[in-house]
């Protein structure tokens, strides 16, 4: 969203005022040399590696370098070990390493060696020569500090500090400026600056104190703090005015601990904090002068990560961001010393701010005389708070990263990496593996080929669909490419599990394998090992503290826990992706019978701990416990019910269909039965209107099964969201096509199954989607790896252990029947074709082919229909008799008289009825197509039945989309279907060549007399209407199955078709019969018109060629010679090639154009 102008204006005002104040108070320009210094130190130049640890920095004045060199020279000769050890019981660095059990430092590290060598010398020097700071340096320091803060302040950086403190300091300066002596003037300036900047510098109180001491001491000879007796402090305070006194006191309190000066004692052992590890880190100094002793404890200041919004308007935002990422360290005695390297800062800041990690450190090798940008060796210990281990024993700890959620870098992991801790148990999937290009990947060629099968999202940007028909099925993958893509094992070495006794049918061996696999999957991923197997997304680390055995970090989400993340915590369930016709339904039923598990949870004896289970258990008391919820497309509802009832022993399970009219809203009702059946439509409608409170969401299911799970392939759809929101112990997806169009389809399934980390879009996108779209084959390889444990997919070609096919089905006999048009037919077609071609050529000439896509499809549609039967496109005749229309009109007018609701006028109704009489099929106001299966509302509005019903939230009633009148489903009037035809087809009936061929085939079958049944598929119900005429006249018993059938009638029709012997033919529309149906009663398939995509035809054939089919399946495709149908076949073949190659947007566009031109050739 854009910022609206008003706000911008307001901000601009504020911004201006800040700037102006800042300008008026701006200090006099600083000497250039100093400024240079600061540039180097500013956050934009964080590290200057060229500076040696002992040498002077290059930015120092030459004088300083000389001094330093001189002192360094001294270092080498002045050394008194006896004095040193006698005076202070300090340990050398190497001893220190031993004592602290530090194995982190590598001896080979040249820097470390350097320090270790130097260390003894340094110590002796420090001890033998009490520090005597000479005035110039001290003053210089002060000036520098001032300049520094200004600089920082200018660039928007800031220490975070106690603002109250700063304020008070400021007051003092304002009220009694004369009391303050020279050095402290600098100090004052500094604070003044701070105040203006508004960035709230927090200055360590100790720091301030030190300055005070300086003030009261002779400025020219500053004694080392360590030698100042404590009484001095007292007297200092008493001399000051009340303001200063207050401040002083406060400071003294804080200082007490380290009155002795150098703070170098041992760190207290704190039982709450567990040592993670120790390491040497080279910090960089940000100050000059002698301030640091070996072994002196340093304190770290962490920015809290919040940039004040005010400052961001005028400060350089990049600088501000950089300042947020700097960890500074100071000593109690000297204030700020330096800062940590960026890589450490970055990971430590969020960790420390989370209050779960603590950092303690000391300096192990201080340079004698500190100069800017000098390296300081620190030895730092990292502690982690015990609370992450003990909170309920199963707390998982996740940093709330303020940065964007898409980040895939996690601070704790970075810390471990920096500490050179490697996991003793690595995660199975690691981002590095996937990121690094080094990893050798051997792909089967097959996979390479498959990779290009999926249409790339990249290639689809070009406005219109890739394929000719903007039909959802248009891009369906063929089964073989799917196999290549997701992999179908040729052989599974799975155990077989005997089905439960309540199952009344026999299972085939591969189905028993599936039962075993599904049962195991519900127990966990790998049953024998799951308990001991680390969750593949987690890595195990050991930390130094022995009280904690290990710490587990989820390398994908950054979550940390000490509780062993078992592999069982992964999704229970999976994807049963056996190819169509292998009996997924029966396998699922056997699973339900084997493990009904209603009300009994497995996790009662397991000690489940992940969060979801936690909520699951705590909610147990309140929420009703359901059995198995099966969600399927509406067409399959009755089939599921039938199969559940026929395959299970009576009374072994209860089945409840939650669909239709008066559905209960009481979750207890649907929690009661063993199995609840519902449709995707009901699920999403319920979710849409009630959200998390919908009846399905209120139940804790034992198992949720999505049949034809690719229905939820679009993860953002209401339907998918509703499915994701279901609470369930086990989740199953049944689908023959886990991937339909796009790799993303799979993401949705993984989301539903709660497969971590892939249900997190950031990871999916980063590691799979993006690589895949960029042509990196590893994306697909990973998909295969993810799916391997999660998916069971066999095809009809899968072999069993002995190498026999798992399923022996009768063969199929597929033939294309070429029809030749009669002369009259051909003339008609030709006329239509020429007319269409003129129009098409016009579009081509205007260069507007792709803009008129819909129009062109319309032209093609007419041509294709013409191939089936010219009647389908013939102009209207007036000979029709609509006896029922008058009845209809009367009904409207009757309604008008006795109804109180506002009704349409008589004139309007008459107009509508007249339209109907004329056969005028108006456009549906919802889909804007000429209404398919139109209905008439009591308010006399016409629209597609489908469109109207889908606009309702309820299945039985809703509002009229036109006039918002309340309608009931039972009030709808089906418009007379005869109006589809514009000639009296029955009177003038004449077979087209295609119809003739079909009738020939049917006659042949009838003559054979073996009772073979046939299914006739067409994509146009109007063609099915036409086919009824010759079937009737030839006394061939037939049934009709299309979208206009109610659910009840669908069941009835299918039952009648399979059980009676007089109905030999089933006329079926593709849309209605595409999925899930079991049509094995028939063995002849007639595909009357070619579909754009062969995968759709394949699906239709599968309805017949599946388990239970005992005869050879004869498939006949009808193609009319020398027509658009024949060329569609060519386009079809071409398209297969096209999809296989990776095409650019431009190529796809031109290809589409070519394709169209080909059709109009």
């Amino acid at each position: 969203m854009e910022i609206i102008p008003i706000i911008v204006e307001d901000d601009a005002k504020t911004c201006n005022s800040i700037v102006s104040i800042d300008l008026t108070h701006s200090p006099p320009p600083k000497p250039k040399q100093i400024a240079d210094n600061m540039v180097v130190d500013s956050p934009e130049f964080p590290v200057k590696r060229t500076i040696t640890s002992t040498g002077g920095s290059r930015i120092s004045t030459t004088q300083m370098i000389k001094e330093e060199e001189a002192e360094e020279g001294k270092d080498c000769y002045v050394g008194n070990d006896n004095y040193n050890s006698a005076k202070k019981p300090r340990i050398s660095f190497s001893e220190y390493l031993v004592a602290t059990n530090a194995n982190v430092l590598s001896e080979k590290d040249p820097q470390v060696l350097n320090f270790v060598k130097k260390e003894a010398v340094d110590i002796s020097e420090v001890e033998s020569e009490p520090v005597l700071d000479v005035e110039p340096i001290s003053v210089f320091n002060a000036v520098k500090t001032v300049v520094k803060s200004e600089k920082i302040d200018g660039s928007g950086t800031g220490f975070t500090v106690n603002p109250v403190h700063v304020k008070r300091e400021n007051d003092t300066v304002d009220e009694k400026p004369k009391l303050v002596k020279p050095v402290s003037v600098f100090n004052a300036v500094k604070f003044e600056k701070i105040d203006e900047s508004g960035t709230g510098f927090t200055v360590n109180p100790v720091h301030v104190k030190k300055e005070n001491v300086t003030v009261d001491e002779k400025p020219k000879l500053v004694k080392p703090i360590s030698s100042v007796p404590s009484s001095v402090y007292g007297s200092n305070i008493s001399k000051k005015d009340s303001n200063l006194g207050k401040k002083g006191q406060r400071v003294v309190e804080e200082k007490k601990v380290s009155l002795e000066g150098i703070e170098n004692g041992d760190f207290k052992e704190e039982p709450d904090w567990l040592l993670v590890g120790r390491t040497a880190i080279t910090g960089l100094s940000t100050t000059k002068g002698r301030k640091l002793e070996d072994n002196e404890i340093v304190h770290f200041a962490f920015p809290n990560g919040e940039i004040k919004t005010k400052s961001s308007y005028w400060a350089n935002s990049r600088g501000a961001a950089a300042a947020c990422g700097i960890v500074r360290f100071s000593t109690k005695r000297s204030g700020e010393i330096g800062r940590l390297p960026m890589e450490w800062s970055k990971c430590l800041i969020p960790l420390v701010n989370s209050k779960k990690v603590k950092v303690l450190g000391r300096c192990v090798a201080a340079p004698v005389n500190l100069s800017m940008m000098q390296e300081i060796m620190l030895y730092i210990s990292f502690y982690i708070h015990h609370s992450i281990f003990t909170e309920d024993g199963n707390c998982s700890w996740k940093l709330d990263s303020p940065s964007n959620i898409d980040t895939t870098i996690y601070p704790l992991l970075t810390l471990f990496k920096l500490l050179k801790k490697s996991p003793f148990q690595k995660a199975e999937f690691t981002p590095e593996e996937l990121d690094s290009r080094k990893r050798a990947l051997n792909f089967e060629n097959e996979l390479n080929a498959a990779a290009s099968v999926l249409t790339r999202a990249k290639g689809q940007k070009g406005g219109q669909p890739l394929l000719l028909e903007p039909n959802k099925d248009a891009q369906v993958l063929t089964e073989s490419s799917l196999n290549k893509l997701v992999g179908a094992a040729d052989m599974y070495n799975l155990e077989e599990m005997d089905p439960p006794t309540t199952l009344t049918c026999d299972l085939r061996p591969y189905q028993k394998q599936a039962l075993y696999w599904m049962t195991e999957s519900e127990k966990g991923v790998d049953v024998e090992k799951a308990e001991e197997t680390l969750h593949p997304c987690w890595a195990a680390y050991r930390i130094c503290d022995e009280r904690a055995t290990a710490i587990y970090v989820n390398i994908f989400s950054g979550e940390a826990t000490t509780k062993f993340p078992k592999a069982t915590q992964m999704a229970r369930g999976g994807i049963l992706a056996d190819a169509m016709g292998l009996g997924k339904t029966v396998m699922t039923i056997s699973l339900i019978l084997a493990r009904p598990h209603q009300g009994i949870r497995e996790n009662e004896d397991e000690t489940e701990s992940d969060e979801k289970n936690e909520t699951y258990e705590t909610n147990m008391s309140k929420r009703p416990q359901g059995g198995t919820l099966i969600i399927c497309p509406m067409a399959l509802l009755s089939q599921w019910k039938d199969e559940l009832e026929t395959h299970s022993e009576p009374n072994s399970i209860s089945v409840f269909v939650h669909y239709g009219g008066d559905r209960s809203t009481d979750p207890r009702v649907i929690a009661e039965p063993t199995v609840v059946l519902t449709t995707y439509g009901v699920l999403s409608a319920s979710y849409k209107s009630h959200g998390e409170n919908s009846i399905f969401q209120k139940v804790d299911w034992y198992r949720v099964v999505l049949d034809e799970a690719h229905t939820i392939k679009s993860s953002r759809s209401q339907c998918a969201q509703a499915a994701f929101a279901l609470s369930s112990y086990c989740r199953w997806c049944l689908t023959g096509t886990p991937l339909q169009n796009n790799l993303e389809d799979l993401y949705s399934l993984l989301c539903f199954l709660h497969v971590e980390p892939w249900c997190n879009w950031a990871w999916w996108n980063k590691l799979i989607q993006k690589p895949y779209e960029n042509g990196d084959k590893r994306g697909l390889k990973l998909v295969k790896a993810i799916l391997r444990p999660l998916m069971l997919r066999r095809t009809k070609d899968t072999k069993d252990k002995e190498g026999r096919p798992i399923l022996v089905l009768p063969p199929t006999d597929i033939q294309i029947i070429e029809c030749e048009q009669s002369e009259a037919e051909h003339d008609f077609y030709d006329a239509l074709f020429r007319r269409s071609k003129v129009q098409f050529d016009q579009f081509v000439a205007q260069g507007k082919v792709l803009h008129n896509y819909a129009n062109i499809l319309e032209l093609l549609l007419r041509l294709r229909q013409c191939c089936n039967h010219p009647f389908l496109v013939m102009s209207r005749g007036d000979s029709q008799q609509f006896s029922d229309l008058n009845k209809l009109a009367r009904r409207f007018l009757d309604n008008n008289l006795d109804s109180s609701t506002p009704n349409p006028s008589k004139a309007y109704i008459e107009e509508v009825v007249n339209d109907l009489k004329k056969g005028e099929n108006t456009e549906c106001p919802i889909c804007l197509e000429s209404a398919d299966d139109p209905v008439l509302t009591p308010c006399a509005h016409r629209m597609c039945r489908e469109c109207l019903l889908s606009s309702w939230r309820s299945l039985t009633h809703g509002l009229c989309p036109i006039c918002r009148q309340n309608l009931r489903k039972t009030d709808l009037i089906t418009c007379p279907s005869e109006s589809k035809f514009r000639v009296d087809v029955e009177k003038n009936w004449k077979e087209s060549s295609k119809v003739l061929k079909l009738l020939e085939c049917l006659d042949n079958i009838r003559r054979k007399g073996c009772g073979e049944k046939s299914i006739v598929f067409s994509q146009w119900t109007s063609f099915l209407d036409l086919l009824e005429i010759p079937l009737k006249s030839r006394k061939i018993g037939f049934l009709r199955f299309d979208g206009s059938l109610s659910q009840k009638n669908r069941e009835k029709t299918l039952k009648e078709f399979s059980e009676t012997s007089d109905k030999m033919v089933l006329l079926m529309s593709l849309k209605a019969g595409g999925v899930g149906l079991n049509l094995t009663a028939a063995s002849n398939v007639f595909l009357m018109d070619p579909w754009w995509n062969p995968a759709v035809e394949e699906q239709a054939i599968m309805r017949i060629h599946r388990i239970g089919q005992k005869r050879t399946v004869c498939v006949r495709r009808f193609i009319v010679k020398d027509t658009v149908e024949e060329r569609m076949q060519q386009v079809q073949a071409r398209k297969q090639r096209m999809i296989a190659g990776a095409l650019t947007d431009e190529e796809v566009r031109s290809a589409r154009l070519e394709e169209l031109k080909m059709l109009f050739r």
């Binding site: 759809s717 106001p925 919802i926 469109c947």
Partner: protein
């Protein structure tokens, strides 16, 4: 990707919008997302917005036409039913949506809303108050804003 499964209805509506635009309204789909439209509405005559060219954005959600399109003014406008983010208080965009409505009808409704501000059902309390207490002055402000923000384009 957003375009791969564009329903026929959207294609048809778009074609019609382009071929027979409604008077005073232009709507064209974005190049890379056919569900996103750049819309311009001319301020209706005899309204305080006369002479202004108002830019809007319109997005057809996944569920369209079963769910209302999302429309927002991009041009600043002083109107009691339009807030400072450009959001529009119009029943047909909310609970009164019907799938029989189209992009065209929605935009016409918005145009009508410009002609007939309704301070009794306000989205922007301040402007509505202004409108009710001193309509003449409010209309002046609206004219002023139209001149300031909606005349450049």
């Amino acid at each position: 990707m957003a375009n791969s499964n564009l329903p026929r209805r959207i294609i048809k509506e778009t074609q019609r919008l382009l071929s027979e635009p409604a008077p005073g309204i232009s709507a064209s789909p974005s190049e890379d997302n056919m569900r996103y439209f750049n819309v311009m509405i001319l301020g209706p005559s005899q309204s305080p917005y006369e002479g202004g060219v108002f830019k809007l954005e319109l997005f057809l959600p996944e569920e369209y036409p079963m769910a209302a399109p999302k429309v927002r003014f991009l041009t600043k406008i002083y109107h009691p039913n339009i807030d400072k983010l450009g959001r529009i208080c119009l029943d047909i965009l909310k609970d009164k949506w019907s799938p029989a409505l189209q992009i065209r009808t929605v935009l016409l409704s918005i145009q009508a809303l410009l002609s007939a501000p309704n301070p009794d059902d306000p989205l922007s309390e301040n402007i509505a108050k202004h409108w009710k207490s001193n309509e003449a002055e409010a209309v002046e402000t609206a004219k002023e804003w139209t001149r300031l923000y909606a005349s450049g384009a």
